[in-house]
Amino acid sequence: MTAQEYAFTVLAVIGAIAAIAVVTARNVVHAALYLVVTLASVGGVYLVLSAEFVAWVQILIYVGAIVILFLFGLMLTKAPIGRDALDNEHQWVPMMVSGGVFAGLVFLIDRAFHLDSRARFAAFPAPTARVGDSLFRGFVLPFEAVSFLLLAALIGAVVLARKDEAK
């Protein structure tokens, strides 16, 4: 194994354990904090894959903004704590479905890329300048569409969450 693979494996194990903790935690605030660990380790994975701009965007937007939104949502809705209040009665159905999804995906990955293959790819350096160049050269229209989507989401969220005093 190479040094990059060691770093990736450590980050991936931390991220996977935290991801499983997110979906099994009994306390909703703990689930949000485990989500921070998962998102940060995914950001580290991006750094290992030398996608630096995506890594910093991940830290800024996911860890910085989205988790804070989740915490606000949890505080404003007084979520109860405990297994019975948070989870469905039938635990084995989601267990089997997600186990089946994982097994199927690993089977497909094995068929397509061979889990025991020795082929390694070198890091593809993607400095922010090249990402920005590519973004504004080839993807200007999707970029504008995303900005329009964000504006629509902003207005929609304000309209949805506003108290209607007239009625």
């Binding site: 994975v45 894959l49 030398s50 996608a51 889990l115 020795r118 990402v131």
Partner: protein, 100 residues
């Protein structure tokens, strides 16, 4: 130097954890968190393939996915808060007004 199947298996694990969360959780905020896990799995795949195929397009799509995820969380939490204000609950199995 890194092997691509490692990245893909990590992404598959994140995705199936998200699937489990969406199906097992009753709390709407926790369901949204599980959806974020699945979107992150997709992003890991996109960045991994982008590095393996030596093309920047995957990273740019990962950025778009992050932006759309931010919009989705904003709208989703607004709906959850509206739901809590009207029904005093955010358990997804008690919200069945639109169920045939």
């Amino acid at each position: 130097m890194i092997r691509l199947p490692l990245v893909l298996v990590f992404s598959a694990l994140l995705f199936s954890a998200g699937v489990y969360g969406v199906l097992a959780r009753r709390n709407a905020v926790l369901v949204l968190m599980s959806i974020e896990l699945m979107l992150n799995a997709v992003n890991v795949n996109l960045v991994g393939f982008s590095a393996a195929l030596r093309s920047l397009t995957g990273q740019i799509f990962a950025l778009f996915v992050i932006a759309v995820a931010a919009a989705e969380v904003g709208i989703g939490l607004a709906i959850v808060i509206l739901l809590f204000r009207n029904r005093e609950t955010i358990n997804v199995d008690e919200v069945n007004l639109l169920k045939w």
